[in-house]
């Protein structure tokens, strides 16, 4: 299994050849597992070559951890396809979202749909996470989603729900800083409160991405499109996240309007600069503490 450290970027098929030919300096790459379900496909063959040079993280979008269906065949089939892919890919991390896609009636929406944050939903999601971890025989990370609606009956906050899931199931958490920012705007909560209530030891990875805006019935909503650069406010929130959680692996995520690889590498440099800045401040503080401590001695 490969070690995931530093700032990685999404691997998109438009950049396959560039990674193979030029081997740009990136410590790790993240793929959508669902794009590599056929081990002999052209995409999988490229990935097999690329993974010889880069550590890979497997980010899933279809485990449907919030599905209420018991013994849901769609979810089970999907989980076994993920297992097959994970077995040959041997990724450093495996993650999916706090969301659902498969309905009890046997239909599937390829989207990350929101769940009500209730005790019923908690029990279901916790069972589904345990099932996923049993099948994959490893810890998974669960990501906070972006959302555009809330339910009338939703007594828990998302950070309470995720923290409790991590404690109950042993899963790790993937903190999408952009998703916090998007949902905080859409649902009127404070981003820093969310960040500061996420459990320190459970957060194992950070995602950064861009969003777009849309006006619905006169209200401006942020939509998590992964098709733009990271916005300034999210960079600031990211700095706070690094201060709180340390330099955990960070991903520059990009899924629509894929730009030239140079743009992703530029965003990666910005994230690295923030990590360096926070580490410098921390080091200075430690030195100052040591000096002051010596002075007192």
């Amino acid at each position: 299994m490969q070690s995931i450290q530093g700032v990685g970027i999404s691997l998109k098929h438009q950049h396959f050849r560039e990674f193979l030919n030029n081997k740009p300096d990136v410590p790790w790459l993240e793929i959508h597992t669902e794009n590599f379900f056929s081990p002999a496909s052209t995409a999988s063959k490229y990935l097999a070559q690329i993974r010889q040079h880069y550590a890979i993280s497997a980010h899933c979008v279809g485990m449907s951890l919030g599905s209420a269906a018991i013994n849901c065949p769609i979810r089970e089939q999907h989980l076994h396809k993920i297992k097959n892919t994970v077995e040959w890919l041997q990724p450093g991390l495996v993650s999916d979202h706090l969301s659902w896609s498969a309905s009890p009636a046997g239909h599937f929406l390829p989207d990350l749909l929101p769940i009500p944050l209730t005790q019923e939903a908690f029990t279901i999601v916790a069972n589904n996470i345990r099932r996923a971890q049993d099948i994959l025989q490893r810890q998974i990370l669960v990501e906070n989603p972006s959302s555009y609606l809330t339910y009338v009956d939703s007594p828990m906050t998302e950070w309470q729900f995720l923290s409790a899931l991590a404690e109950d199931t042993g899963c790790g958490l993937l903190l999408d800083v952009n998703n916090i920012y998007v949902s905080a705007h859409n649902h009127h909560f404070d981003s820093l409160t969310y960040l500061n209530n996420m459990p320190l030891s459970a957060v194992k990875e950070i995602h950064l991405a861009g969003f777009s805006t849309e006006v619905i019935e006169g209200k401006e909503l942020y939509i998590d499109t992964h098709g733009h650069r990271v916005c300034d406010d999210v960079w600031q929130l990211y700095e706070q996240a690094i201060k709180r959680f340390g330099a955990i692996p960070t991903l520059i995520e990009w899924d629509t309007n894929i730009p030239e690889l140079a743009v992703l590498l530029d965003e990666k440099s910005k994230a690295e600069a923030i990590i360096n800045k926070v580490e410098c401040i921390e080091n200075s503080r430690h030195i100052a503490d040591a000096v002051n401590g010596q002075g007192r001695l």
Binding site: A40, T42, A68, A69, I74, S103, L113, L149, D153, E217
Partner: protein, 259 residues
């Protein structure tokens, strides 16, 4: 209180059943509608879901999109999605029936070639995802004393299709690197027989004679060698079976045999 199971069934119904209306949005009672109505909120997810599924169809049917135009393709996809709700999380498997849907879709059903172009694109898609050939020891063929009981096998990436229109040319004319301003007349064209197979990272397409197509079609159906020869000779008595067999083994199209 709505159970999570019922809520999820209602959610997908709202997203995929077509037009959301004020009084028919099933999710209405479960949503916080302080700032945006239930119809507006579900519209966001409906739009996103249909866009995501349309993107999957776009990947499989790029030539169809080019032929009918981006806007009309989206409109056709929405009609298709509303009638064919996805039932798999693997979107590579979604959209097989799109060709037959096009054949019946009112605004384009007079464009009879679209169905076959869509079928060709689906076969390309399947070929790109298929397993590789397993190693096969062809020296075993020299030890076979009678050909009667031999049944040859096609590679998993092989697909064959015939069409009354030159779909191979239509497909080629609508690739990214195709020369512009090419015109193709569909009048007086003869049937086209196509074999798709993957070599390395690329799916190749070739047109073949009807007799060779019949030979491969017999193999695809699991018929034995003798029957495959008879079928091919019924189309063209002069077909050189040895050459034909050698060619398809060398190309990896025929990937083994059983006795």
């Amino acid at each position: 209180m709505t159970t999570l199971a019922q809520l999820q069934t209602n959610f997908i119904h709202d997203c995929l059943s077509g037009t959301l209306t004020v009084d028919k949005t099933l999710m209405a009672k479960d949503l916080d509608t302080q700032f945006i109505s239930a119809r507006g909120l579900m519209g966001i997810y409906q739009h996103s879901a249909i866009a995501n599924i349309t993107n999957s169809l776009r990947l499989s049917y790029a030539v169809i999109e080019k032929l009918v135009g981006k806007d009309f393709f989206q409109l056709m996809c929405k009609s298709y999605i509303v009638k064919h709700w996805p039932s798999t999380g693997n979107m590579d498997d979604y959209g097989e029936s799109f060709s037959s849907f096009l054949a019946a879709f009112e605004q384009v059903k007079h464009l009879s070639y679209l169905e076959d172009v869509a079928q060709l694109e689906w076969l390309f898609h399947q070929s790109s995802l298929a397993n590789d050939n397993s190693y096969f020891d062809w020296t075993r063929l020299a030890k076979v004393t009678t050909s009667e009981n031999i049944t040859f096998l096609l590679s998993p990436s092989v697909s064959i299709m015939s069409s009354a229109t030159p779909v191979d040319k239509i497909w080629q004319m609508n690739q990214e690197n195709a020369p512009e301003n090419n015109e193709l007349s569909l009048d007086g064209t003869s049937d086209t027989f196509i074999v798709l197979f993957r070599q390395g990272l690329k799916t190749e397409m070739m047109t073949v004679a009807e007799s060779e197509f019949t030979f491969l079609q017999s193999i695809e159906k699991g018929l034995n060698f003798e029957t495959a020869i008879e079928s091919a000779k019924a189309v063209n008595a002069d077909i050189a079976i040895d050459d034909c067999l050698k060619k398809y083994i060398e190309l990896g199209i025929i990937s083994g045999f059983s006795i």
